[in-house]
């Protein structure tokens, strides 16, 4: 089923339910891993993924097809994940950076992390980056998204994204060298 056909079915009340099930089936894993890299913890990622799909379902009529459906969903997932982290920081009266550092510091004992030391170091390095650079690095490095796609999701110019990615890589390189 092409994206155009899927969108058409999603916007038709008679075919909405079946089309939505198709949508979830196609994108659940990609969105989950995108969210997981932002919130780090599985249970949190699970909550955010569900919220993301609920929002997609409720707001599908507002999708104006100015971007790809995938980009629109990625944007919702990104916003939901960042809002989740910010709310948690607010609840604990701290910053998002401190919250992330705290989660990362417990990563080695997380039941749902089986990475080796290099993977652990990489996650720690990513957590030191500003939020925007983290997003760009994760999308580019792990998800292999194109700059055009990231630009559509984050509403940022390709040039700015390239700069962000370049700076992020340099910082990670420095972190890993100094913490090796």
């Amino acid at each position: 089923m092409t994206e155009q056909v899927l969108i058409k079915k999603l916007k038709n009340p008679k075919t909405l339910n079946s089309a939505f099930k198709e949508l979830v089936s196609i994108y659940k894993e990609r969105l989950y891993w995108h969210i997981r890299k932002i919130v780090i913890n599985h249970d949190d990622a699970d909550d955010v993924l569900q919220n993301t799909f609920v929002k997609v379902f409720k707001n599908i009529d507002r999708f104006k097809e100015e971007s790809k459906l995938f980009s629109w969903m990625y944007r919702i997932a990104t916003n939901e994940a960042i809002t989740f982290i910010n709310q948690r920081a607010k609840k604990h009266q701290t910053t998002t950076e401190e919250i992330q550092q705290k989660i990362i510091s417990n990563l080695a004992t997380d039941d749902y992390f089986d990475g080796d030391n290099a993977q652990l170091q990489l996650q720690k390095a990513i957590a030191t980056l500003p939020q925007k650079q983290q997003l760009v690095f994760n999308m580019k490095y792990f998800d292999s998204l194109k700059y055009d796609e990231i630009s559509e999701i984050l509403d940022t110019s390709v040039g700015a994204l390239k700069t962000s990615y370049h700076i992020a890589v340099k910082k990670i390189e420095l972190y890993i060298k100094t913490h090796h």
Binding site: L16, N17, F20, K21, V24, S25, K28, E29, Y32, W33, R36, K37, I40, H42, D46, L49, Q50, F53, V54, F57, Y112, F113, D114, G115, D116, A118, Q119, L120, L122, Q123, K140, Y141, F142, K162, Y165, H166, V169, I172, E173, I176, K177
Partner: protein, 164 residues
């Protein structure tokens, strides 16, 4: 160095495919893995669909629970509290007293409701001490005899004459 990639404003250039090779070489230079190390519970992606569908396409009509606090309940509670305070603390010439209770209602209540009276209250009520109370042999009393005694001997006056 041959100019391949020119920045539009500054005039600085980079070798061809510099940025692409920079990204590609990251793993080789730093031994940085391309996997995150994150994993999910077993069969998570098989079960998550049903969870999402229950919240979306299969969502049943909203059930209003009586026990769940509702926003409108708070102003009503505040209003009720204010009315109660006004009723209790403002001077009131029409105060109800024990005498206003209908005797028939009171009698019916005493007959029908279990009344838990402690031994101490019994000794005070009948002006006897605890030793005298203990000396009374209740073993010979059965329900029939007790009921007949209370029906024939006890009136509402027996209760209202004392200041309980």
């Amino acid at each position: 160095m041959k100019e391949h990639h020119k920045h539009s404003k500054t005039g600085f250039t980079t070798p061809k495919n510099y940025f692409k090779s920079f990204e590609d070489n990251l793993y080789e230079h730093l031994q940085v893995p391309h996997e995150t190390g994150y994993k999910t519970p077993e069969k998570y992606f098989d079960t998550i669909e049903d969870v999402i569908f229950k919240k979306t396409v299969d969502k049943s009509p909203k059930i209003v629970t009586l026990t769940k606090p509702r926003k409108w309940l708070y102003p009503i509670s505040v209003a009720a509290t204010i009315i109660l305070c006004i009723t209790l603390f403002l001077p009131n010439n029409n105060k109800l007293s024990f005498d206003d209770v209908e005797y028939a209602s009171l009698e019916a209540y005493i007959e029908s409701e279990p009344i838990d009276i402690s031994p101490l209250e019994i000794t005070e009520l009948y002006n006897i001490n605890a030793e005298e109370l203990d000396s009374i042999n209740f073993d010979n009393l059965n329900d029939t005899n007790l009921f007949e005694y209370l029906s024939s001997e006890t009136t509402i006056d027996d209760f209202t004459d004392y200041e309980l």
